[in-house]
């Protein structure tokens, strides 16, 4: 038994394909463009991102998922040279304003010194960090729209 254990090859860990929060982001299996998930409160119609339950406006507890606009405008951005423990630097993050009157904090799929206030960006799927097993963790990111 012990012998078998020693010989037994340790199973390689699979990349972490699970988004850290399933309510945030959808990458359709049919290959169509990914989108952020907004939640409309059925009682007061307020749309929130991320999902907040109960609704902070009216305490409604029923929601309808709405696909948020894929394109937005950079409100502000910064290049991070000293980041969180365990995160490779530099990385770029900031706020993106969407037409649904929502502001999204996100990492940018971008090199430093390339993202500016007022830039048009679109949401994409990307790797935001490594998980606790050292494997890539995917989530939403924003990328500059080539004009």
């Amino acid at each position: 038994m012990a012998e078998t254990k020693k010989k037994g090859k340790k199973k390689e860990k699979e990349p972490d394909i699970v988004f850290f929060h399933p309510d945030l982001f959808e990458v359709p299996e049919d290959g169509s463009a990914p989108f952020l998930k907004g939640y409309r409160c059925k009682k007061c119609n307020q749309i929130d991102f991320p999902k907040i339950s109960p609704c902070p406006n009216c305490w409604g507890e029923e929601f309808e998922m709405v696909a948020l606009s894929r394109e937005g405008t950079v409100y502000s951005a910064t290049d991070i040279y000293i980041g969180q423990a365990g995160m490779e630097t530099p990385y770029v993050f900031g706020y993106v304003d969407l037409p649904e009157d929502l502001r999204i904090f996100a990492q940018f799929e971008a090199d430093v010194e390339t993202i500016n206030c007022g830039d048009k960006v679109e949401v994409v799927e990307g790797i935001i960090r490594m998980n606790n097993d050292g494997l890539p963790l995917k989530s939403y990111k924003f990328k500059k729209i080539n004009e």
């Binding site: 409100y75 290049d79 009157d101 935001i128």
Partner: protein, 389 residues
């Protein structure tokens, strides 16, 4: 808070701020004992309640501070955590006890040892359960976003921001409690290591260790203790940060504006009357924004206020006379209490070598706390103090 009776400060204490091998409890004890002794208290059973602000040093921090002062047993000791606002909030709690008649004399302490409890080399972030944190948010970066937007809207440059560090280090030049102090040029600030664009290392508060403490009491107690220079607490306000997931102006600060408005109303003292101010200058951009948020100048005039010398000696209001967090470093749970301690000493004319002249009559302190998704800050604590002798 609405005071039901007048509250005074009897004595204060502060340690040196720098990287220290002394743990948080010893630092807290040093500041607390200094505050107690300067309040002419000579027995361990006089103080009736204690609040201890701390953020990262563990559990029952307050009891750990007070045990060897022989002050555990007779009074409640409440441990207060609200990130960078914890020390200010502990003083608020002590004031609340006296203002409401629950006690006649109480103490608020803020203490923190960062360097022994935290490996350096990475930046502070909000809790890991937070969506923004998961996506890489760090506090330096969140302030950098404010700086970047301010520069975009006003045309301010990194050199402009650097002026804040230059001013505060100059204020601290002869302050024995300050860590980074003296002459530094705009070029040195701008050319130091980039942390989060446009914030360079010399525009960020250092990770330091220290403590501050404030003894508050009634007017009768001031007489009983024979305090010659009592400082009156004209106002004490704590607020929580409003949640938004919608576009908002981050060159303003909703929580600071609301807290200041409440403080001005409750104290009956307006921004134009404030002689000295300790503000949450964890990063250069913060101080600049807060001139405007606190109403020291009009919205958009922050840079002009700075350049015209209105924030230094001889100006409208001396901002960060002790040198601020940019000179002290920022042991997060300690800073709010240490700010109050140093302002009291300024009002009493006890700051040899860094005393504001003429001796100020009215002092204000401001400290925010933490960050969460959708809030600029989780907490804000402000105090208004005046000379009362």
């Amino acid at each position: 808070m609405k005071f039901q009776r007048d509250v005074y400060i009897a004595g204060v204490g502060e340690t040196d701020f720098k990287r220290q091998k002394t743990d948080f409890d010893a630092l807290g004890r040093q500041a607390a004992f200094q505050a107690i002794k300067s309040s002419n208290i000579d027995k361990p059973d006089i103080i009736q309640s204690a609040y201890v602000g701390n953020a990262t040093n563990g559990l029952v921090t307050g009891q750990t501070v007070f045990t060897s002062l022989g002050m555990c047993g007779h009074m409640p000791i409440i441990n207060v955590e609200s990130a960078c606002s914890a020390g200010g909030m502990s003083v608020y709690c002590a004031i609340k006890d006296v203002a409401t008649g629950l006690t006649d004399i109480s103490i608020g302490v803020g203490t923190e040892n960062h360097s022994m409890h935290r490996a350096s080399g990475s930046a502070f972030s909000p809790a890991m359960t937070d969506i923004e944190t998961m996506h890489g948010a760090v506090m330096t970066g969140k302030y950098a976003l404010r700086a970047r937007r301010y520069m975009y809207e006003t045309g301010a440059t990194i050199e402009d921001l650097a002026l804040i560090t230059v001013k505060n280090r100059k204020h601290a030049a002869n302050n024995p409690h300050a860590w980074f102090k003296g002459d530094i040029s705009v070029e040195e600030v701008v050319n130091s290591r980039m942390v989060a664009y446009p914030l360079t290392l010399q525009q960020c508060c250092g990770i330091s260790d220290g403590a501050g403490a404030v003894v508050v009491c009634t007017k009768e107690m001031i007489k009983k203790l024979g305090i010659e220079k009592p400082v009156k607490v004209n106002g004490s306000v704590v607020r929580s940060g409003p949640y938004h997931n919608r576009p908002r102006d981050i060159t303003a600060d909703d929580i600071t504006e609301a807290t200041a408005e409440q403080l001005y109303e409750e104290s009956g003292i307006g921004p134009e009357d404030v002689d000295i101010l300790e503000v949450h200058d964890a990063f250069t951009i913060a101080e600049l924004l807060y001139y405007e948020c606190l109403g020291l100048c009009k919205k958009g005039d922050g840079l002009k206020f700075l350049r015209d010398g209105q924030a230094t000696y001889g100006g409208q209001c001396v901002v960060s006379p002790r040198g601020g967090m940019l000179s002290y470093g920022h042991p997060i749970g300690a800073s709010g209490a240490a700010m109050i301690a140093s302002q009291v000493k300024q009002l009493r004319g006890e700051c040899n070598g860094y005393q504001v002249d003429p001796i100020p009559k009215i002092a204000m302190t401001h400290v925010t706390g933490g960050g969460l998704s959708g809030t600029e800050h989780a907490a804000c604590t402000m105090h208004m103090l005046s000379a009362a002798w």
